[in-house]
């Protein structure tokens, strides 16, 4: 089932060139949708459009069928969550309070989180396997754990679609796999993840479908095996790639050494 979709959206910042031109994309229940793109290809802008924070000048974002600009702010935040690379939380805030912030769209403006919100937050933290960190301060946990905690915040939002902005950017391989593995596991419960990344191999390992974003345009979303080709990678990143096949069916993409600028 398609939960969130972009239909030929174009976006530009005031007096700037098009960052996105005619991008179409959808996020299905149970899927991890990868978007691969080079630096500055508009991945973050696309995610901000998808959660309704930026309004595309052309095209339409649909949230469960209705245009997202018509969905009220709080309702939107109950349906779509953003998992940023890092959070600028208050100094000294605890892990549990960070997850609790996900309850905001469920609370009235003068309300503080109650017993039930605490229970939802606890459950969300358990779901990413970090229940034992609840009382720690956010600045005491590792970068990978912090990323998972922000996923838990999205779960506490009870959003069906979670948009992850380069979750693998600043993590070591182990945590990259742990964070993306958690996303894939949660997707199987019916959620949808939209993940932007620089790393084709992470997409090969965890994606349900992959699209390439470059020059403001997005390729069709296809399964990893048929998406990751030397041609597609070269077109996206501007350097030659080779795609290697391992004996156990694993596929890996590797830049091909080359001399000087092309």
């Amino acid at each position: 089932m398609i939960l969130l979709s972009a239909e030929r959206i174009s976006f530009r910042y005031p007096r700037g060139p098009d960052v996105l031109s005619g991008v179409s994309l959808d996020a299905s229940s149970g899927a991890v949708e990868f978007i691969l793109g080079a630096n500055g290809s508009g991945k973050s802008t696309l995610l901000h459009c998808l959660c309704g924070l930026l309004a595309p000048q052309m095209g339409l974002i649909r949230l469960q069928g209705s245009p997202i600009q018509n969905v009220r702010r709080r309702m939107r935040a109950r349906a779509v969550g953003l998992v940023p690379q890092r959070s600028e939380a208050l100094f000294g805030v605890t892990v549990k309070d960070t997850v609790l912030m996900g309850r905001t769209p469920h609370l009235g403006i003068l309300e503080s989180p109650g017993r039930q919100d605490h229970a939802v937050a606890r459950e969300a933290l358990e779901a990413v396997g970090l229940g034992h960190l609840a009382a720690k301060r956010l600045d005491e946990v590792s970068g990978g754990e912090r990323q998972m905690i922000l996923v838990a915040r999205g779960l506490a939002q009870q959003a069906r679609v979670l948009l992850m902005d380069e979750p693998d950017a600043h993590l070591d391989p182990r945590y990259q796999q742990e964070v993306l593995g958690t996303a894939a596991r949660l997707a199987r419960t019916g959620l949808s993840f939209v993940v932007t990344s620089h790393h084709p191999n992470n997409a090969l390992l965890h994606a349900t479908r992959i699209a390439f974003l470059g020059d403001g345009m997005c390729t069709k979303q296809v399964p990893p095996g048929s998406a990751v080709t030397p041609e597609g990678l070269e077109a996206t990143y501007g350097i030659p790639f080779q795609v290697l096949h391992g004996p156990d069916g694993a596929i890996a993409a590797m830049p091909r050494p080359h001399n000087g600028p092309r």
């Binding site: 924070l53 109950r78 953003l82 940023p84 309070d97 403006i109 309300e111 503080s112 989180p113």
Partner: protein, 333 residues
């Protein structure tokens, strides 16, 4: 900080404020016995006596005004610092103080009536913040934009205040403006209390209800928006409420600086940055500090020391200590 430690901090602070309030009622040029003061407050004793006049007509309204103004300045400071994600912001930086000061001085120039002075102080305080809010909104209401526009408003109203002082009668109006500008509670009487209490009650009540939401304002704008928060709207609403309580305070007591800047820092040192704890604690510290300082201001010397002078003389070194620690800890500003 554990819940128990937090609870005892709270109780100790509340006790201190009550104690300082009691001290403020009994000490002064005409000392009262505590027992007599309590009996009068409870409605017993001779209400025509000099004791009753000093306690009920002079000291009680002044003490009430002190706790409200202290809480207002501290609360507004804490909220402004949260809304602008900047621990060095207070109402003066946002132009509210100098606009209200200009308004009050203009009021004094036009009329000697305290009502006129209150109304003009309030009107110009709100005018400044509405200008800041409108211009800021058009430019996206980012923290930096609002602070820059606030500094500009502050400069404008300070210049206009200079003009008012230049044309004021040097024998009567000018000393009055100057004294008021230094900040003092000496002219407070019951006529000021209802309006001050109403504005403070509503404003501080709203801040208290919003204490959890203040934590969310530490997030980046994008992150906060993604949680369904109308960041621009909430920032402007908080700014307006803060202005109302600051302007009411300025109209009553003149310019009393530094409380709004320093008290939130003391609150953070005591209970951490979480506004669910820091805000109530800051309100108590502000109230206690103000009533304590006012008692010192009127009893330390034969002539009363202007309260604003006292907060400045103590506030600058206190701030320097905090600032020193902050810079040393981070290695940079």
């Amino acid at each position: 900080m554990s819940t128990r430690a937090w609870r005892s901090t709270w109780v100790v602070l509340l006790g201190t404020v009550v104690l300082l309030f009691a001290v403020a009622l009994v000490v002064g040029r005409y000392p009262l016995r505590l027992g007599e003061a309590v009996r009068l407050l409870l409605g017993f004793g001779d209400r025509e006596s000099l004791d009753a006049a000093v306690l009920l007509r002079v000291r009680l309204p002044r003490a009430l005004a002190a706790v409200m103004i202290g809480a207002n300045l501290a609360g507004a400071g804490a909220v402004f610092q949260a809304a602008f994600q900047n621990p060095l912001v207070d109402s003066r930086i946002l132009g509210i103080g100098s606009a209200a000061a200009f308004g009050a001085a203009l009021g004094m120039l036009l009329s000697a009536s305290p009502t006129v002075i209150h109304v003009t102080a309030f009107v110009f305080g709100v005018l400044a913040v509405v200008l800041v809010a409108l211009i800021g909104w058009r430019l996206g209401a980012s923290k930096l934009v609002l602070v820059i526009v606030g500094v500009l408003m502050s400069a404008l109203f300070t210049s206009l205040l200079g003009l008012v002082k230049y044309v004021a009668d040097p024998l009567s109006t000018l000393p009055a403006i100057t004294y008021w500008q230094l900040g003092s509670l000496s002219r407070v009487d019951w006529s000021e209390i209802p309006a001050l209490a109403a504005v403070s009650g509503v404003g501080l009540g709203a801040f208290f209800a919003l204490r959890w939401r203040l934590n969310l304002l530490a997030l980046s704008d994008i992150e906060a928006e993604s949680l369904g928060i109308h960041v621009r709207g909430e920032r402007i609403v908080l700014l307006l409420i803060g202005t109302a309580i600051v302007a009411a305070s300025v109209a009553t007591a003149g310019m009393i600086g530094w409380i709004g800047l320093i008290v939130p820092h003391i609150g953070r040192l005591l209970v951490g940055a979480d506004h669910r704890r820091m805000l109530p604690v800051s309100l108590l510290i502000g109230a206690g500090l103000m009533i304590g300082l006012d008692t010192v201001a009127r009893t330390a010397t034969a002539a009363e020391i202007p309260l604003g002078v006292l907060t400045g003389v103590l506030g600058v070194p206190a701030f320097l200590v905090l600032f020193w620690g902050m810079v040393r800890r981070r290695g940079t500003v």
